[in-house]
Symmetry: C2
Subunit: 458 residues, 2 copies
């Protein structure tokens, strides 16, 4: 294609929408570390997961054999309402940076949830409906997952209770209202509606701002005690990375149309759902020795699980009711400093990403400061038009750095990054950044020690 | 196409993006009523418009001869960052309504401004830049136009001062921050930065909530007094309807791909930019006697310029500094009751739409209550996924009504409506609706009399 003919963006047709998700675990040549029962330290069985998770989702969670899993037709139909999402060639950004690098991004923000979370939400709601459940519970931090799941449950007519980290609940009433529009019941966490919430409130009466870990504990407790109800989760889990592979599969097909293959794949990483999905098909090529893209996981300096955590078995929640997962973790007791990238405030990391990082397939993890992240977000917004979510802007920050390096070295790298969502509900943070009110603090040694205190001995 | 193969939405390729805007005035077989100088009541000349408007835009304003006007290449390049926008077949809505009607909508909300306003903003900023101006001024009500123009001016490096209706400025700090992100200077109106603002504040010290009409007056005053600066406007004007024709042109091409032609075209109408743009190419067919689509303009009951206004020459602003336009108007002194569809709170209506309505080419105008509008918005959001702006939801309300009529009569009408934008910044209004706090009041006879009091005698 001549420069003139190269489009700014490629939308695949609905017929080109993937018919199967890709399960990267099936191609990982490593011993998968199973989830463990926290009491016995034995691998958890399907039977043990079924009271918490929908059966089909529990099967997906444990599946490390099948590389491809069919996307059910009703889920594909829902996908067609907002997918395929565009793969954008960032011409304006390249010009602004005066870089020889080619920059592409997969934009997942063009749906009402405002992020990629909807890709897994609709799948999880579908399996819950298929199983004949009447409702599900979940937690949400920044509100993106809660919004996505509200839309999905609204679509399938399922009851939904969302435990929303209290500081987000108070800072983002608009997010709460949006979930209400789709019919969800939203409760600030910690709350007095659960035993674990009441315990947190009693033990930490001076710290009621909440955390994802606590909200998970509350949602799981309700799922276990309410009839016909299960718990669903928007990140960390293997099933979520599986569903999010739709991002990477579409990206790969669109990049083939552009006639390019990424030298570098960059994604923000909180629980790992976005980077996991974006990189999966490219990681496949690397695992099979066919290609060697360079993967960078970008995390917030304030919650640096990959760069400062341990690769160890740990609880997925603060209340210690979940199975143990082998992952990079700051410890379930870690309380991140207030950060506006709420979606990245999680003590652990997807076991899949953790293993791939541990084994060297994810080449690098980089922790960045939120001040730098907002600076990059505004540069990007002004030249590419799209207002990124703070979470997404972590990937932008590193993309700008890498593209500027290319300018110095003259390298024509092909960079792909994940633009996971939009920042419409983050204007307070943007405002604070522009007023110079944001700052950064890496975790203190004390907070890291506090986090690790109760790490299980496995 | 078989049902199975019919896509949920059609994205045209970037090559199919229109190369020319369509100027419906050239095909209107009516005496165009010129803008009049408010002092002399003589038709305004290009020379009189040039101190206020960019020269090229003033020429477009007066052009009733050329049916097609080339879209400059830099504007088309910018369009490619977010256009063509999708034309969606509303399968889920049809199923939900159990209607034989086919419902299509053109969705203009997939850009950071959140609405169709960007289509004209980038054109106006381009012509200002080409003319060597250093900046522009404007007003904004709901904030959609201000956001769009901020993005456009940020892209071309133009200074921008936005007078924002004070009640919106206070209710929507997020909108203001978003404009700041793109580098705009946002001032609540009425303000003490202009003579007209100071006059309003002195005369109405108890009513400082502002109106579009006042904000226009302030922005025009600054454009006239600041060097190298002109005024730009996001609706009402002929040039805006011209630029917005890109909506209708894309819609028509996409509907041809679906193999259908609309029996009915529905759009919300405040100043008329959206409906004007959406309907233009279909109106051409009607003006030429080739087709006979039925056009419905939907306006808020609280500000019913078409259904309760007069077809008369009137000022476009409250401060009476603008030329007189022949239009449906409630009078420049009309103060609409507080309504959350801020973008529709304007006393007048596009002269093009006014003339077409007067001549019977726009078949019908319908005023709807905002309680009904929010009810329709939530129904739509839950089945089609997209959260509409309250303005856009006016069209949804009437679309639902018409589709339900089709169910009664069995008619398989093809309905096209304009989904102009998203409601992310309207969550407070959604919340108030869900709490039952919204209500409706049509204008009282007194408020209508007050509006007409100073209508010029032409």
């Amino acid at each position: 294609m001549s420069k003139q003919e190269i489009p700014y963006k490629i939308y695949l047709t609905e017929n080109e929408l993937p018919k199967e998700w890709y399960n990267v675990r099936a191609d990982m040549r490593t011993d998968h570390r199973p989830l463990l029962n926290p009491a016995t330290h034995e691998p958890v069985t399907l039977a043990e997961l079924e009271p918490v998770f929908c059966t089909e989702l529990a099967k997906q969670e444990l599946n490390d054999k099948d590389a491809y899993i069919e996307i059910p037709a009703p889920v594909r139909d829902f996908y067609k309402m907002y997918r395929p999402s565009p793969l954008v060639r960032a011409y304006c950004l390249e010009k602004y940076l005066d870089t020889p690098a080619e920059i592409y991004y997969k934009f997942e923000g063009n749906n009402t949830s405002g992020s990629h979370k909807l890709n897994s939400a609709i799948a999880q709601a579908y399996y819950a409906k298929e199983q004949g459940l009447t409702g599900v519970t979940t937690e949400t931090g920044a509100g993106q997952w809660g919004t996505a799941l509200s839309m999905a449950c609204g679509y399938f007519g399922l009851d939904l209770t969302v435990y929303m980290v209290r500081c987000s609940y108070e800072q983002k009433p608009q997010r709460r209202t949006l979930m209400n529009v789709y019919g969800a019941n939203v409760i600030p966490s910690p709350s007095d509606t659960t035993a674990v919430g009441r315990k947190m409130l009693a033990e930490h009466p001076d710290n009621t701002s909440g955390s994802l870990g606590t909200a998970i504990s509350e949602a799981v407790e309700v799922a276990l005690t309410k009839p016909n109800t299960r718990y669903v989760l928007g990140s960390v889990l293997n099933q979520v990375v599986l569903h999010q592979s739709v991002i990477g599969l579409e990206s790969k097909t669109a990049m083939e149309k552009y006639g390019v293959y990424p030298d570098m794949v960059i994604g923000c990483a909180g629980g790992g759902s976005n980077l996991g999905g974006l990189m999966s098909p490219f990681m496949r090529d690397k695992l099979k020795g066919e290609r060697d893209p360079y993967f960078i996981a970008v995390e917030p300096m304030s919650c640096p699980s990959l760069t400062r955590g341990k690769f160890a078995y740990d609880f997925c929640d603060t209340g210690k009711v979940t199975p143990l997962a082998k992952m990079y973790t700051l410890g379930s007791g870690f309380m991140p400093a207030p950060s506006h990238a709420g979606g990245l405030r999680y003590h652990g990391m997807s076991p899949i990403l953790s293993q791939l990082y541990h084994d060297g397939y994810i080449n690098e993890a980089r922790a960045v400061s939120q001040v730098d992240v907002f600076k990059a977000a505004i540069e990007f917004a002004r030249v590419e038009g799209i207002l990124p979510a703070p979470e997404s802007a972590h990937a932008i920050k590193v993309t700008l750095d890498e593209a500027r390096k290319c300018k110095e070295t003259g390298e024509k790298k092909v960079i792909l990054f994940g633009l996971t969502g939009t920042g419409y509900f983050d204007m307070i943070s943007y405002d604070r950044y522009m007023k110079g009110e944001l700052n950064d603090a890496p975790p203190t040694d004390e907070s890291l020690a506090e986090g690790e205190k109760d790490m299980p001995k496995v």
